[in-house]
């Protein structure tokens, strides 16, 4: 007897009870399909989180001025006292002695304005007054031209680095914006650089932006003198983000004569939040994968169950085969082939459905199937067939011909 004979006889055995075989296959099929889809879904969502973390910038925390002290007692002031972020705060946080984990601090003054250029205009442009370190902290890449310089900040220069949305709104395709004079409100700025397109970490369009020196912005946007809307603090490394956050908060608390808990600023450490959510996602993925794997195991038990039934049903056939000279190994091979065939059919169907299933977005996450999960699930399937088929098959092989022939 060779493999082809075993296969033929296994197919005959399985097709003799089609519904039963199909239900057994279904168990494996669901397990394999579930493993592939769950792993792909987990992989996809963790990739999405990682790309959002990358879009947020590199190891940055954002300190937003809420403007006023909120809830709770405010030391040395009333509920209406104005909280400010001053240039002194900025230079303190940027001082390596006071805040050793901070790489750079970029003050941000934002206002919304209308940009216009030779007839074309764009409302709602985020005019961001800042320092050159902002670009690195926020992970902006220059596509063309040059960045802001410290010199620009010092000289209150009317220069701007503009984002892709502005470029496409104000300029003709193919036109070089560098050197053009663009109006923000009534003030005229010279475009010195163009930012490369950037994906959004949060909601706002990061490309509908014009970066200008904060000193220039202070001149334009009255009422913001020496009071920044935001600070972008870049930590020296991903591990130093939390320490940098603490240092910056301490400096701001002492400047405002309050405690860290009562600071009127919102400190956004979104990378940490996202990392937490990513690890939650991965925990869920592991959990779901375990459940899927358990269903594969249950499918395997189904195979064993059905093979035990088949061996019992066909005891007489086994007796006949032994009487005409089937050696142990032939009987073992016959039933093992049948079990593996069951799991193989289920595994193949599961792989097909799993791979097709990963083409659909689930809850906004695009699943990314991995070759490892497909090959792994399939290999486990075959192993399940061999493992759970072995016991029934060896029981069949061990039957004594006399007893098997007598079985009714």
């Amino acid at each position: 007897m060779n493999v082809a004979d075993d296969l033929r006889s296994a197919l005959r055995g399985l097709s003799s009870n089609k519904l039963r075989s199909a239900l057994t296959v279904l168990g494996i099929f669901i397990g394999v399909g579930a493993v592939i889809i769950v792993v792909a879904y987990g992989n996809g969502s963790s990739q999405a989180v990682q790309s959002r973390i990358r879009a947020l910038g590199t190891n940055t925390i954002t300190i937003v001025n809420r403007g006023r002290f909120g809830r709770g007692p405010a030391t040395g002031g009333t509920q209406t006292q104005t909280a400010t972020i001053t240039s002194q705060d900025v230079s303190n946080i940027g001082d390596p002695n006071q805040a050793p984990d901070v790489l750079s601090v970029s003050p941000v003054l934002t206002g919304s304005d209308t940009a216009s250029y030779s007839g074309a205009s764009d409302t709602g442009v985020s005019l961001t007054g800042t320092t050159p370190t902002y670009l690195t902290a926020e992970d902006y890449q220059l596509q063309a031209g040059s960045s802001l310089t410290a010199q620009d900040v010092q000289n209150h220069s009317q220069v701007a680095v503009i984002g892709q949305t502005l470029v496409s709104d104000l300029f003709e395709p193919g036109q070089n914006p560098i050197g053009s004079q663009v109006y923000f409100g009534s003030a005229r700025f010279q475009v010195v650089g163009v930012l490369a397109s950037k994906s959004s970490g949060t909601g706002a369009d990061p490309n509908n932006v014009a970066l200008v020196p904060y000193t220039t912005a202070e001149d334009l946007l009255t009422g913001y003198t020496n009071n920044f809307t935001e600070l972008i603090v870049q930590a020296k490394s991903a591990k130093a983000v939390d320490a940098a956050e603490q240092e910056a908060a301490d400096i701001l608390a002492s400047a405002n004569q309050t405690s860290v808990a009562n600071l009127p600023f919102t400190i956004l450490n979104e990378a940490t939040l996202l990392a937490t959510s990513a690890s939650t996602t991965s925990t869920f993925t592991v959990l779901l994968t375990v459940i899927a794997a358990v269903s594969l195991l249950v499918g395997g038990i189904g195979i064993m169950n059905i093979m035990l039934v088949a061996v019992t049903e066909r005891t007489r056939e086994i007796g006949i085969r032994k009487a005409i000279g089937a050696p142990r190994r032939a009987i073992l091979g016959q039933f093992l082939t049948e079990a593996v065939l069951l799991s193989l059919i289920g595994g193949l169907a599961g792989v097909v459905v799993g791979v097709v299933g990963t083409h659909f977005r689930i809850d906004g996450v695009k699943p990314v199937p991995t070759a490892g999960s497909v090959i792994g699930a399939f290999a486990v399937t075959v192993a399940v067939g061999v493992f759970f088929g072995f016991y029934p098959a060896s029981r069949a092989a061990a039957l004594r011909p006399v007893d098997a022939l007598r079985y009714e």
Binding site: I320, A323, I324, G325, A326, P401, L405
Partner: protein, 278 residues
């Protein structure tokens, strides 16, 4: 399954077995009418030699002596009926002779080979090569064509597919079922099924054809057919052992061995058997 892959740790099977027709390579069944091999040219061991064989079963605390010490020699080319009432030990005897069961005591040589020293794999091989079984309930593999059923023992013997097919076809032709090769058992009458079983039994060219109540489930016409085939096989030189409780079936044979309570009570030649039936 190739021969060398058998688990046969140097058993003296090959050494002990005479170069009987079953082992002669290339000798296929039905390459013409079955010709009697030139047996007389060798000094052959008997096909079956039982010496004081006993088989005891345990049933709880009690011991049941299904065979209580039987000695019997059956020579090549004999046509023997083993008779007895139910419980006489004839089924146990058939199992022992067919190497489906091993005796608890005594010795049994099949074709000169002492089966007591053989392990399970070697016994399977003996059943495959030297014995052709025919059962009362036909015992064909269900949902499997007549041809595939007949090919099966050749498959276990490791015969290549093409040769398997040719030999199985020849065996089916011999039992007159050349036109039923593609039918599965439940598409055939009992007589046809039993003829397929006979074809399967002879396809490996065994030394011994062992039939257990082969006509028990058949009408008289089909019984005649089957007995006719046995006669034909015996005339062609094959050893046929027939287990039955019907005297008129036994009358077809040359020798009748009677069992009672696990012992042989008579062993008579053709003349006496003929007298019994008349």
């Amino acid at each position: 399954m190739a021969d060398r892959s058998w688990r046969d740790p140097g058993t003296p099977l090959a050494a002990l077995a005479p170069p009987g027709p079953a082992d002669a390579p290339g000798q296929a069944v039905g390459t013409g009418p079955v010709a009697a091999p030139a047996l007389d040219t060798w000094s052959e061991p008997p096909v079956i030699a039982l010496r004081n064989v006993a088989r005891t079963y345990r049933m709880g605390d009690a011991e049941v002596h299904a065979l209580a010490g039987v000695s019997l020699v059956i020579e090549r080319g004999e046509f023997v009926a083993i008779m007895g009432a139910s419980g006489s030990g004839k089924s146990t005897m058939m199992n022992v002779i067919g190497c489906l069961d091993v005796p608890t005591r005594g010795r049994y040589w099949l074709d000169g080979v002492d089966v007591r020293i053989l392990d399970e794999g070697a016994l399977a091989r003996i059943r495959n090569r030297k014995i052709g079984f025919i059962f009362q309930s036909f015992n064909l593999i269900p949902r499997t064509t007549a041809l595939a059923n007949v090919e099966l023992p050749l498959g276990y013997a490791g015969v290549p597919a093409r040769e398997r097919r040719d030999r199985a076809m020849a065996a089916l032709e011999l039992v007159g079922l050349a036109d039923r090769t593609g039918h599965v058992p439940n598409e055939m009458s009992g007589g046809q099924q039993q003829r397929v079983a006979v074809a399967r039994a002879i396809v490996t060219n065994p030394s011994l054809i062992l039939a257990d109540e082969p006509t028990g489930n058949l009408d008289s016409r089909s019984s005649e057919d089957i007995l006719g085939i046995f006669d034909q096989l015996n005339r062609a030189g094959r050893t046929v052992v027939l287990i039955t409780h019907e005297p008129d079936i036994a009358a077809h044979t040359q020798r009748v061995v009677r069992l009672r309570d696990g012992l042989i009570i008579s062993d008579e030649g053709k003349d006496l058997a003929a007298t019994v039936s008349s």
